[in-house]
Symmetry: C2
Subunit: 373 residues, 2 copies
């Protein structure tokens, strides 16, 4: 597979990005096109990365075409409004990556740049898969079961969602989970505030019967709640982008706070500090398990092409994993299957039919919701 890698996007660009690309090219059969300012890219590649062992042989990779540079000197400034910037700066590195995919010169686009810019550029250049109302950003979250990460979508592309969009998210998540994350029969859950069928807000109450009765091909588990996020029993969690974003960031905040408290308690006491020393490798393993970098970034699903967005603070390691995810998404033709499955979806019920389906569970919202605390 050929990966178009935005060398200029992210807090650590271009250094970590280009070395992440070199690592991906060295470790896999993929070829990587570094898109950005050629002089800066070459300069970054001259300083061997101190943390990569063995260090990729950049000259050899370049010589046989596994690593290449595509020059563009337009770039998006940190303070540009991202969505507007990709419209104005036609040849910014993100746009060039998307065009490579569009024109069949690359199989996947990967960037650690602003996710809004990334989504806007993808929509602008690649457009949407026919039948998909709204592309969604899907995030891979660790779970108690190390072999069973959970895919959460939408993680921030669409704040206010129509219930029919959630059906599309479920289908797209099912496909990505199966083809890229390797779950044979992913279990899909609808994020709500109680596991009973009737629980939730207006959006989830409307989405529930759609997912249960009008979405062939998925294994629908029903409502899940916050407690289920890291349990590893649900492979795909569907929600609107506001909720998804809050879940993602709250989890990061909780993990961060726990680390902070633990450090404060242990480092505040000399004996604890001493006792903790032999456990450092264990804590490193814990850190690795929770490390979002190893999960390969967040695919933008619903656009015709494999597009992977990674965290702005991505290091070479995260970039290499993201390139691998992009490669798998392209190799397994995720977009093509999304197009087919979306096209085959049955006509959704009319508003009246849907109201009828929900009606049996109608309760006054104040009371229903409060029950779930």
């Amino acid at each position: 597979m050929r990966i178009a890698l935005d060398a200029m996007g992210g807090d650590n660009a271009p250094y970590e990005i280009v070395w992440g690309g070199a690592l991906a090219a060295a470790q896999t059969q993929d070829s990587v096109i570094l898109v950005g300012n050629e002089a800066e890219i070459r300069k970054a590649l001259r300083h061997r990365h101190p943390k990569i062992r063995p260090i990729p042989d950049v000259e050899a990779l370049m010589a046989n075409g596994r690593l290449s540079i595509l020059h563009t000197d337009e770039s998006i400034a940190m303070d540009d409004a991202p969505a507007a910037a990709v419209r104005r700066k036609k040849n910014c590195s993100i746009n060039v990556c998307m065009r490579l995919v569009k024109e069949g010169k690359a199989d996947a686009a990967v960037s650690a740049g602003n996710s809004g810019a990334m989504a806007a550029s993808a929509l602008f250049i690649l457009g949407r898969i026919k039948g998909v109302a709204r592309p969604a950003i899907a995030t891979v979250m660790p779970s108690k079961d190390p072999d069973r990460p959970t895919l959460l979508l939408d993680a921030g592309a669409n704040t206010d969602c129509h219930h029919e969009w959630l059906r599309e998210f479920a289908v797209m998540g099912d496909i990505y989970s199966r083809l890229v994350l390797g779950h044979e029969k992913p279990v899909v859950g609808l994020m709500s505030i109680g596991t009973e069928d009737s629980k939730g807000n207006e959006l989830t109450k409307h989405a529930f019967p759609l997912l249960r009765d009008y979405t062939p091909g998925i294994t629908f588990r029903g409502n899940v709640e916050g407690h289920d996020v890291f349990e590893g029993k649900t492979d795909v969690i569907v929600c609107d982008g506001f909720i998804g974003n809050v879940i993602l960031k709250t989890s990061e905040s909780a993990a961060h706070a726990i680390g902070y408290w633990l450090k404060r308690i242990v480092f505040g006491n000399f004996l604890y500090k001493l006792a903790a020393l032999p456990l450092v490798p264990a804590l490193k393993r814990l850190r690795h398990h929770m490390d979002p970098e190893v999960y390969g970034g967040a695919p933008l699903l619903g656009v015709p092409g494999a597009v992977i967005i990674t965290h702005g603070s991505s290091t070479h390691k995260a970039i290499a994993y993201a390139c691998a995810a992009g490669s798998r998404a392209a190799a397994h033709n995720v977009s093509k299957e999304i197009a087919e499955r979306i096209a085959a979806l049955p006509e959704p019920p009319t508003d009246e039919e849907l109201t009828e389906l929900i009606g049996h569970h109608g309760q006054r919202p104040v009371e229903t919701a409060a029950e779930n605390r």
Copy 2:
């Protein structure tokens, strides 16, 4: 203060509840009325609690009226629909507690029973404070700063909210944070998916100008996001009850998963296990810091009276803290101040004025939202 304690509510009722009540009566100046089946309560009080030191002198407390029993034998079964049950069973223990508050025979009601039943009973018997559209459940969350817990509301009473309700939540949260949690000038934040003023979904975009310009008396920080939940820089976080419930449960899930991973790594290796032994007290302190039991339960704000809901799994410790929170809420007249502040709120803007206020920040939702990942 006189606390009406629902002895029959919660997973550990009546044993942990009645001993929690006895502990509260012994440790404070409050008197506690245990409401429920008298025979069961007396039986539970005969078995001294193994974990409480010094054990409260129940006979002495009873003799001087600091601990008393109010018999009722109607009870809500586990599988009753909670809101309906409190309507049907007029003399269930929750209803009796509420009536004691209503009739001025108690200053606060505390229960570890179903929060939906609790909210329904409070609305049914106490009603709402004049001007309050929807009472909200507020949850106290730990933060990085041990002296500065964060109040999150609504935590589950109202799934789909009107933006004007969020203004009331802000006022009620401000008051509880100041009077009960002791923050002199609480900082109030609006839960959104980015800190810029223009970010969010339709609800938060509408609520933002209301909180900024139409809510005198609060210190409004603007939008906060998931990353801010445990930072300890915001004392009151306002959101709809769906989001609040998801935040609460996702945080619990993350903490649980981290504990699970840590145990798995440490216990999977004999040397790690040995090394971890001296750290057990440190881990206990961490556990205590994260323990929701010490934060005194969740007040139901917006009803005329101090009503505290605690976790179904509450132990005696949680119950004692909840009684203390109820006592403080009553002593500081939280309900009275809510009534005054809500009555003094300025007329909200008309829909047109509000649209005008939001208008400046109007962007297409897909792009705006995606920028925040």
